[in-house]
Symmetry: C2
Subunit: 352 residues, 2 copies
């Protein structure tokens, strides 16, 4: 196939959104097909991940610890699975599947430093930026390293139907814990109880007294709390922690980054009374153990012990609407956009 | 000596204080000399410890996790060093020095289960209820197990001139850290810098912008924060923590136990951004390691690496005023009341 005859396109930030993101936030540009410069790798985008956390990067202002702000008229970037279609680097050869934070472009040439190989044997290749990417790794390390769940303990996960929470809660279940998931719709509660196999789901939107509901669901108290949400939901679970409880604060919620810290009850007294620990983390704290974690998650998945759900939208043109859809409706599962097919030597699509 | 001819006395709670404790809070009673019942040990009180945390136990109401409320017309209890003057228990013999939570009585007979032997070789016997008691153990385990200070790191201790803080900050200094102590008077700052050998003391009462003062004193950020105080002082230090900071919340401040948790900025975002840990503890979490800890603290003390200061008031009659004095003035060092002399076979006072 002669890629120079392919049409290439990019999606740039057309304007900083005020409030909700709309189609006007983005602009499509026809661009030239890139060529592989010295040491670079030419990529074809296959799966593009869209995440709520990207919303914060679309605002005006300087970049902060949570990531790089997008600039006007520059291509948006997000975690992407791509295929190598040309390479000037010995570590990557044509046909390899890779992932990284790439631009919303059909084709692009990138430095080999910016990409990592995907092992198609672990799980479907799209999961390289979800279940086997930062999402799954955050769940894995947050639950195992900070939460340290022991068999028979009670574990509560907030945002349990989300991409991090759904994996974190299943890991606790695999470790032999009683697992209570908190989510915000009947559809999600059904997913928690019937797909993920949790002991109970609690719909916080239909519960007047969350503290009492947690108490009822956790008669032996809460040993591990994996928190994706914060705020009053945090307080309700926190009021039920046991002695020596571990609370993992998951660093996924980018809009925490806006302005002053919200006010709430100070946790110090309870931490002392319960000899409890509250710990924040980002996945990169554990980067030496990424490979082992991916193998373990892949094994659980392939052994049928872990369920993972994706929402797939097809077409490069649909990336903006997939992103906008994150803030609407009631979808379950990691939102992905399939923007191209892999090209195997034997014509086989690797991700099947 | 015939103890039956000794006069015995007790101090009871005469009324629940409203606001400040006064002499009327207490009442002295002449009581009979006790006798040693089956398996009991007859004690003569030598050193009585008075602590601010006892104030909470004088209020009306039920006992809570922090300890037992004192009842009207019953003797107050506090940590006490005593000598065995008669024993019906094989583990304790006449002349032994022991400590425990005993009643404010000159003489009392207690169950052997309620007392522990004091090793007079470790340090002066009065320290069994201070530097080598819960005070020192809280400092030791909080700093070493939760704070985990590493050579060259920066450590901040609030309430650094207090009985826990002064030991915690010296342990960090011994571990090769840069140590900043926060306290509330020029006399205390002098004590921190010139007696305890800390790198800097900050008088929060004379500092308008504590956050900026901490930043200036800790140009490399704060790696360990040992907090005895909470509130806005916590916030000022917390704003300066480094990645992977450890924050030990010391469970010493009993009036935390009053009513609702105070409001303050939620720490979750910073914990996540910094991958930091905040952990509460009580010394009994580490009870298996008490003996080793006492030996280590005693060694530091005897090697001249650790300074420990006591304020000694003489006389059983002066226990109430020693307690009331805790809330007044500007005393440095653990407040103790010497209420009797030890009686050695050779007439030697062991605590010298």
């Amino acid at each position: 196939m002669n890629h120079s005859k392919q049409q290439n396109q990019e999606i740039v930030l057309a304007k900083h959104p005020e409030g909700a993101v709309t189609k006007d936030t983005f602009k499509f540009n026809d661009i030239d097909m890139p060529t592989c410069k010295d040491g670079e790798v030419l990529l074809k985008s296959i799966y593009v991940s869209v995440d709520p956390g990207m919303r914060g990067f679309m605002d005006k202002g300087d970049s902060d610890n949570a990531g790089k702000k997008f600039k006007l008229n520059e291509a948006i970037t997000s975690r992407t699975v791509a295929q190598v279609i040309d390479s000037d680097n010995d570590d990557f050869k044509k046909g390899d599947i890779v992932h990284g934070r790439f631009a919303w472009k059909k084709y692009q040439s990138v430095s080999a430093d910016d990409l990592e190989k995907v092992d198609p044997d672990l799980a479907p290749i799209s999961t390289a930026v979800s279940m086997l990417g930062v999402t799954g790794l955050a769940a894995y390390f947050g639950m195992l390293k900070i939460g340290q769940p022991k068999q028979g303990e009670t574990v509560v996960v907030s945002g349990a139907a989300g991409s991090v929470g759904s994996i974190a809660s299943q890991i606790a279940r695999i470790k032999g814990c009683k697992v209570i998931g908190i989510a915000g719709s009947p559809k999600k509660i059904d997913y928690l109880e019937n797909d993920l196999g949790l002991d109970k789901g609690i719909n916080y939107k239909e519960t007047d007294d969350m503290e009492a509901a947690i108490k009822e669901a956790c008669p032996n108290g809460v040993d591990v709390f994996f928190d994706n949400v914060g705020g009053e939901l945090f307080d309700a679970v926190f009021a039920n922690i046991n002695e020596h409880a571990r609370i993992a604060i998951c660093g996924q919620i980018a809009d925490y980054n806006k302005g002053e810290a919200p006010q709430g009850p100070r946790p110090m007294h309870t931490l002392t009374k319960k000899s409890a620990r509250m710990e924040g983390f980002v996945v990169y704290d554990f980067k030496d153990e990424f490979d082992a974690a991916k193998k373990q998650i892949g094994k659980w998945y392939n052994d049928g012990k872990m369920v993972y759900k994706e929402n797939l939208i097809e077409g490069f043109d649909n990336i903006p609407s997939a992103f906008i859809g994150l803030f609407e409706g009631d979808n379950i599962g990691k939102q992905m956009v399939k923007v191209g097919d892999t090209e195997g030597c034997d014509g086989e699509d690797n991700e099947k």
